[in-house]
Symmetry: D3
């Protein structure tokens, strides 16, 4: 029944990696809280680096600056 | 004033269906809670089937398996 | 499979009204998009009026001003 | 840099279980995507069972019905 | 440490405007609450006008009607 | 029309500070994007420090460790 939302930058994450994220997040909730996986939802949002800020800068700008 | 977010898989939902979702969600909040529709916001997110997991699998994988 | 999030101000919404919101949002997605209700999740967030702003003011301030 | 949001019903989850969820979600993103854990945020939302619906019913109602 | 999510319609917002939004939201949290900017995350979501509803209508429809 | 969500730890933020956050976020969107403030929504979520993780630890644990 839990709902997990994973937001990451859009950086060529593969379908296999998404499968691992969904499998891993589901197992985590099952193992720690004993949740039923059948209705456990995981949604992955991929966000453009221009649209993600940290430390007051876009990720695009940080990468250009070598951070 | 309420804010409603509807997340669905990206499956060719038409503009007409989106209109119905927005109209229906707005009417629901007006009818049940007497909210003012003028400032009632509905946002629909369409998510790739690779990015949506349920039961520990992606929707893509579930459909390939005939689930 | 869809996920619906309804954010409203905390104003004494009753358990019966929450039941109606959950039932209504589920039926909306079933009717418009033919979604399977079994795994359709609805989460209602109730937000303090101090924490909800519209038009640059909190809802608390707007109500005190008779808006 | 990723942001993970875990929504669960409010059911007496302990501080130790929350620590495990946060540690596990962080490790998952580090292991699968090589993300830097230093800026990786995990937020857990606990939702009242009256406010969580699945299959068109509240979790409160489902539990009363023995589902 | 805060997390800020800004949802706007997809209307040709430039990279420079996104930079200003991220910088401004970060400064706001630093100035009002004294938060550390280093781990302060801002995510901007751009939403198609067909997917955004207000007053029970899509933004697309409102614009066509001259609202 | 934009929707802004600010998530912070629950640390005794005052009503006056919330008013400043809502006013500031609204002005930011008006100034950068020319948005109409009348339908601009800001929602502040305050999250317990046990429920907020960064760097794989809860904020509670980080503060106890003097981080």
């Amino acid at each position: 029944m839990p709902y997990v939302n994973i937001k990451i930058t859009r950086d060529g994450v593969t379908a296999e990696q998404k499968t691992q994220l969904i499998k891993g997040a589901t197992e985590l909730l099952v193992n720690v809280l004993g949740k039923n996986p059948a209705t456990l939802v995981v949604v992955i949002d991929e966000v453009e680096t221009d649209n993600w800020g940290i430390g007051g800068e876009t990720v695009t700008a940080r990468r250009q600056a070598g951070k």
